[in-house]
Amino acid sequence: MADLLIELLSEEIPARMQPKAAEDLRRLMTDGLVEAGLTYAHAASFATPRRLALAVEGLSDQSRAVREERKGPATSAPEAAVQGFLRATGLTLDQLERRQDKKGETFFAVIEKPGRAASEIVAEVLGRVIRDFPWPKSMRWGSGSLRWVRPLQSILCLLVREEGAEIVPFEIEGIRADNTTRGHRFHAPGEFAVTSFEDYEAKLKRAHVVLQAAERRDRIRHDAATLAFAQGLEIVEDEGLLTEVAGLVEWPVTLMGRIEEQFLGLPPEVLQTSMKEHQKFFSVRNPATGRIEGFVTVANIETADRGETILAGNAKVLRARLSDARFFWENDLRVAKSGMEEWKEGLRAVTFHNKLGSQWERIERIAALAREIAPHVGAEPDLAAQAATVAKLDLRSSMVGEFPELQGLMGRYYAEAAGLPSEVAAAADEHYSPLGPNDEVPVARVSVAVALADKIDTLTGFWAIDEKPTGSKDPFALRRAALGVIRLISERDARLPLQQVLEEGNLQAIVTATNSAADKLRRRKENPGIIKLDDVLGFGGYGFDVKDPKRQRVQDANDFLSRVLDGGADGITHFEGVMLENLRQENEARVADLLSFLHDRLKVHLRDQGIRHDVIDACLAMPGNDDLVLLVRRAEALAAFLKTEDGENLLQGFKRAANLLGQAEAKDGVEYSFGADPKWSEYDEERALFAALDAAEARIRPAMEQEDFGEAMSALAALRGPIDAFFTVAQINTDNQVIRRNRLNLLSRIRRLCLEVADLTKVEG
């Protein structure tokens, strides 16, 4: 038994890569060792900014010896077969054994593979692991060809046994494994030798290196809390930042400073974001006021002046950063209070998408949609439109220019500063939500209207210019937008005429796309050198199919555009008309396609909630499927119903009825749809089924009108007994044609009634 210790010392490893790298080292090494026939008891790996380390306990000294027997050809077999066996086994004829077999004498090869020494295996596996290490990004350095995350400087590789430590003979790209390492870059740069993992970790600590990331994290957390507490303050927790900072230092030294009075008026989020993004500072809050009043920085060194110089330097950088932030804030407030006109103007000049016009045009589209959506979500239309107009203006503010992650939040501050209604300010902040499956959905009605309008405009816009997600490619996050629409609608019970809203959105997008194309043509006409014809043509949204493999239509489009450009101002106007008409004609198909995309995303969403895809299909096949609230309710009710025994049996009964009916209809070439009459009943069970169907019908029709799917399903459930009983006694295909026809018509009543609730033919099982 031995313990294995490996350390790969390099230049600074990016903090974000350290945790995975440590885990990869452990997994790849132990997998490799086991594959080569070694066993081990326990393995742990570590990362600091300059080193990856692995400690394996209880590693076997040798791989197991393997004895393998292979049966060959009969000794009487032709020479070629024997030679082939020798080649396959790598043995010579005299090494083969001859044994009596049932069929006579046969060659046997006995191959003994002796166990290999652990050191040999470690060296082999380590070489492979280093060469194939899955860094997200790696590099070469100097004259070598080895790749590592940053230049690899030294390797420590020891097998530790009771009698002592053995250096594993290993070399890669001129780096020979050794029993030495180095400590902290500034505190203890000299080399030292180690004899075991315990020795390694202890000596590193003496050399100002804390090996374990968790220990560095704890130290920082503890020291920061202590520093803050001493002044009656508290740290704003940030686990992500803590992990990152712990990956930037080998010897964490926590220092706290105060934010200058002149910056305390900035919004807390601004202080926090600026300090975190630029300087990786923790924010320190005054629990009494809730204000951010201090910062904590983590240095990598202990100094004679107890960090005074370091703190002063950091404070100076912070002052410069916060001066910028304050300048932005004050400037933005001035614009906000004067009506944000400057930002509106600015957004006219910012392109949202090459083919979908400016940000301002986008905002106008969203506002129009928000106005239309508002009444359906209980929001006041004018207020929703106003909120949509204001919601994205902060994109033009200096603060959001500097810190894009503050978009929306700054919008709220600025809308408040401008004295706008609180619903409008809230919508600026909340309309981006939900951003993912776990993000919260806004509650305020105006926010819901704007959030829906925003996402629907994104979808209809990109659909209008044929930029749909394909496979894993979804550069405009359209799947996320679709999920947002679904969650907003279903979680806020938004009974939206979705089809109509999508049509409206798509028409708006088409107009912008056309304007934007015509604009480009006009600019090209004015300055032919700047925009190439190809740039203008480089998209499908003009109604020209540029993806045509023969590119025939591209040629047509080129000819057409050349004529347009030669035709003066009228030519371009004519072009606009043609393009708009082309796009209009495709509108219906586009909206249908987009709706089915939304349905697909809804399926994914509901499947995550445990509703089977065939259940959703059964509901999607029903009319009015653009009402997602209804769709979800129906699917939930059906899924719950099918989980009951009645539901499962009714489904079987329905399937049996539908199958028999289908076969009979195919055979007879007619559709059995009405005319079943109890008077032709032969059995009580048959008459009972008639009565049950009457009763169920009487319950289901009003339930469906009330959209009470639970009630409708429970009415269906009541049919289960009568249907089962009927099938037990009655033969459908009897010789009596009158009775047969009557029974088929009876089955069709079952089918029709069930199909009014959901398309059960789509349900599997």
């Binding site: 900014p49 590099m139 100097g142 940053r150 500034f186 300087q279 370091i310 410069a320 700047i530």
Partner: protein, 310 residues
């Protein structure tokens, strides 16, 4: 530890003497307008091919959009970079770098020096590398890069590149709050000059020129001319008919590429290049840089005839 320097120029002189002492050829600035020290052919072109190289130099650099009429404490449209390029990158480059900080009076036992991930990419040069920005007490003082590709060519061997923003670093070392107040020569010299004495007026003049006065139509034309000239210079046969020698005009062509790049920066500052066009222009400059790189590796300095590096 070295004494604290007293002026901007002393810091430059210390760097010159330090890196000269470490074996670098101390070159002079390139005599063209460039956006950064990397554009100097001593970096861009010399990072290519297999020939060893070690050079250090000051490079005046221009970023027209950063002009603030000399009023901003840190921002300038004309500033200096100190640039070091060593090929192949030596194994102790980090130690050499820390030595250079020491040489200008930064006591590494008193300051917090950190190597923070920052991968470098120049879309106009078709170049990228991995490395860090170096922090001193939370302030970025240098860029440290191992070049992986330049002009679309893999760098073999790899060059190590160091770039110091001289004004910012000097302000830090000298404890100056506004760049214009920084002593340029020794404050006790008979005629003491500040950075502002030397550059405040030019910052004003160029800010006005960059933002408002540059004739954009002419600049567009110059850009097209530089682009055409660059391509034209790389067309002729390698054999010079007059001398009978093999002469590839990689450097003259690269000058035109530098010119195009700077003209693009000027047009950008004038705000006449839209977001979409921006990418197209950057692509055009990159295409030139790539052609020049292709040409350079066919020259002697580019390692032509040396065979591949081991």
């Amino acid at each position: 530890m070295a004494e604290r320097p007293r002026s901007f120029q002393e810091i430059i002189l210390r760097f010159q003497s330090y890196w000269g002492g470490k074996g670098c050829a101390i070159l002079q600035p390139y005599d063209m307008e460039v956006g950064a020290g990397t554009f100097h052919p001593a970096t861009t072109l010399r990072a290519l091919g297999s020939r060893p190289w070690a050079a250090a130099y000051v490079q005046p650099s221009r970023r027209p959009t950063d002009g603030r009429y000399g009023e901003n404490p840190n921002r300038l449209q004309h500033y200096y970079q100190y640039q070091v390029l060593i090929k192949p990158s030596p194994p102790n480059l980090q130690e050499l770098y820390l030595g250079s900080l020491d040489a200008i009076g930064i006591d590494t036992s008193l300051h917090d020096i950190r190597f923070v991930e920052d991968d470098w990419e120049s879309p106009t040069l078709g170049a990228w590398g991995l490395g860090w920005e170096v922090w001193c007490d939370g302030m970025e003082v240098s860029q440290f890069t191992y070049f992986q590709q330049v002009g679309g060519h893999d760098c073999r061997p790899v060059s190590g590149e160091l770039t110091y923003g001289l004004e910012r670093l000097a302000m830090y070392v000298l404890g100056v709050a506004h760049v214009m107040e920084m002593p340029f020569n020794d404050p006790s010299a008979p005629i003491p000059l500040t950075y502002g004495d030397v550059f405040r007026q030019t910052e004003e003049e160029y800010s006005r020129y960059n933002f408002d006065a540059a004739d954009t139509e002419r600049l567009f034309r110059h850009f097209e001319d530089a682009e055409k000239e660059c391509r034209r210079l790389l067309e002729p046969e390698e054999m010079d008919p007059k001398t009978g020698k093999r002469i590839v005009m990689a450097h003259p062509a690269y000058d035109q590429c530098i010119k195009a790049s700077h003209l693009f920066n000027l047009l950008d500052a004038r705000g006449v290049i839209s977001v979409t066009e921006r990418q197209a222009y950057i692509g055009r400059v990159r295409a030139l840089a790539k052609l020049c790189a292709d040409a350079f590796v066919r020259t002697e300095a580019g390692g032509h005839g040396m065979g591949a590096a081991a």
